[in-house]
Symmetry: D3
Subunit: 182 residues, 6 copies
């Protein structure tokens, strides 16, 4: 696996390094080092993020998970709780994330016969100086990995896909919504 | 988001619950409860798993990350280390995973102008009674989330996708390889 | 071990499921799923909780622990610190607990020849949107488990018992005190 | 809360400190300091421990939890998973516990109208130089705390009680069974 | 290794135990027990701490690390991220530390041919009732341990030294600066 | 704080990059990336490491800690347990460390009026494919940080120093001992 070449004006990957770099990476300091961004000058405001993702599998695998989910619901509950607990671990998993108080975490999973597989959605709220996109995305990713774990003995071709932000509100950048749901 | 209906022979999601359930969920006990599978009767053998995934973003975002990665390589190193450290946390994140000794963890990221974005691959080795697919997949997912975190200020439309197993070896099921690379 | 039957009006365990459910489980959403409660609309206020528990053992075991505690006090200090550190881990241990800032944690243990064994008490303070009962109870439980661990080679019949809330203050429900100490 | 007096031959708590101390505390070194016991000379053998406990509450609280557990089983699944995941954290919670590979963790909860409340049982297996009593007891304690958390808004008088070892096998001390079940 | 004698007026280690004790240990309660200090009466104010340390090694070891750091910078980035992530774990590592929100964490390492070795510096900011000296010192210590780990195969005589506070601001005690930099 | 220049034959920090690099960094792969070393081909053997360090403070601070340590020994016990528990967290703190089973952890602290301050020593044993130097060094560092935390209100000039390996045994490199104790 090859690494990218050094940036230069002739680098197709990076046509405008000079303005691109400061524009891009808020975690990057003047020495090209990544740090946890200083948010001490920001106000703590109410923030929410909603993320989603899906787990694609064979129809039989989905059927087995749905069957396994009855009557006690452990399959869905296990994946939901794993996602919920992982959201609380985000700052330990993602090196540059700030530890934040979390006021709400909700993770939902639903079977999708068309996929076939499961659709996953997570909503996280905080009152803090920075947003909770990473907490919502981490909840989705770990809920998806947990579904994968429960089904992998049956289906080695499962794919976790489309992990993305759906909506965010609060903070300087204010309201944002993915086009798919506008 | 609606939950699945109770399984029944007329349930399109689950045509054959009776055989599907035992066939499918190794974590499921006779009472429909999920537990950490008993591996005490299995032998510890050498096992390896390779997983992959990708992070799709705008071309400008990729350019900025590549620029930000020079000269000191913090962008790639940060995502790689986050994935590597997360692999060691797999049993704390995925409820039904066994804590395993890990003998090797390798996480690689490379920019892909065609995507555009980054390709991620993780290899994990153990000598244990069960495999390390979840450790490799967790490393990929957290490395991807970390790239996302570093670029999210620039691009809210980033998508983490195609998290999947590429290869596994060792254990009862022996060698397995995804079709894409056969 | 049998699971409870599905709720119904004829279920002796659950005579009035309809009103019991909304009345009871604050973590339960409209789809019967448990989530971390949304506290974003609540005010952060000063809160305190005091919990207690006891560890019952043979008189000789108590004597040995007391002897082992002199002259350097490691037995008591070990159990106290384990409880104190566990209180800081409550939101990682109890799935639906909110991560809270903790302003005070105090854990006390004292030998009780009448039991015979040890009495344990923990006090936790915060300024937050929700209370710290679970932090105080977790501190008591882990301090008790740590005492058990230090004595188990001597006495396999040790019992951890009476883990309960003694007092709480702050928040909507205000002051509460267990009858035993009213 | 008063601390125990210094040990002495006239100390009712500790009639025979000299023989009691070496006999009692395997974690205690020659300087009266507690350490993680050296197990390097021991053989890794198959070991199992079964622990139990109960959560006593008002009959209405039990009814509400049973109602809340239907149709998706989140109440039981949440407590079971919390106990299961906590068992994997035992060495981080109990200062003198050895980190052990765990080959099986099973946590069961069942409503008990006679209590009224829930009965909890946990079984843990390993192949190691030391036993898994603490892992089984920790699983029971955290499952109990999680039930408490879900019901505390309804009932502040809930009591966690009778956390004890039921059975252990493997290791030098071999088979042991609590009298209640002999 | 011998333990200190009991304090007494004739104890050279402790000439004035009576005033020394209350003056000294803010974590110590009236019963001689250490607890997490109650900060509930204090105001949350902006606080910063800067700590430093160094890792002394053979000149060849430094040369190898510097060489190993090019072209991708992984050596420095690995140590910096380890320090940064450890700062977020301070309250889990140091028993009596309060869990605090952290608003900024910055860890810098630079090679020092005169030492020879690396100089390490960490800056942490919070808005809280207590300071972040321990977070900054923990970041330095873990960054140093991580450098040690990467070089230990080459040099078993590496020494981590001079871990100290350089500056602190905020809180009751206000501004403080080590003499070396005054 | 400036970063090191790119290595070159004219770089005083790195006279012989070509041989220095492969010779030096066992964690470095062919692409200049650091990974957790593959130990799957190695045998698990008995290993031990002993590390030491010291905490230098004013004579009055030492006197206060010694006074604070009586009669119940919480100061020493707190630092010892913090070091012991941190050793079990080494693989979570040091990115490239392997998670290892630990068979013994012992941490000792003793006051040293000549320093003045405390001398700290930690011994760790395992049976594994790689050594436990980092576990022993991490125990020393965290025990030292914990002493610092308990005394910092009294003395802002405390210095943690001389954290080093004293002895190691087991593994390919076999017995090693620091010159100071040969």
């Amino acid at each position: 696996m090859t690494q990218e070449p050094a940036s230069s004006s002739s680098n197709p990957l990076n046509p405008h390094p000079d303005q691109a770099q400061p524009a891009a990476l808020s975690h990057l300091d003047s020495q090209g080092q990544l740090h946890m961004v200083d948010v001490s000058a920001k106000q703590a405001t109410a923030r929410q993020a909603i993320a989603a993702g899906q787990v694609r599998m064979k129809a039989e695998t989905l059927a087995a998970l749905v069957a396994g989910n009855n009557p006690k619901g452990d399959v869905i509950a296990t994946a939901r709780l794993a996602g919920l607990m992982a959201a609380k671990q985000t700052a330990q998993l993602i090196p540059l994330c700030h530890p934040l108080p979390l006021q709400k975490i909700e993770v939902s999973l639903s079977p999708d016969p068309q996929l076939p597989g499961y659709q996953i959605e997570a909503t996280v709220k905080t009152k803090a100086e920075t947003g909770v996109e990473m907490e919502a995305l981490t909840a989705v990713a770990v809920a998806a990995l947990t579904l994968y774990d429960m089904a992998k003995a049956l289906d080695k071709g499962i794919v976790i896909e489309q992990i993305r932000l759906l909506r965010k509100s609060g903070g300087k950048s204010g309201e944002w919504e993915a086009e798919e749901i506008s």
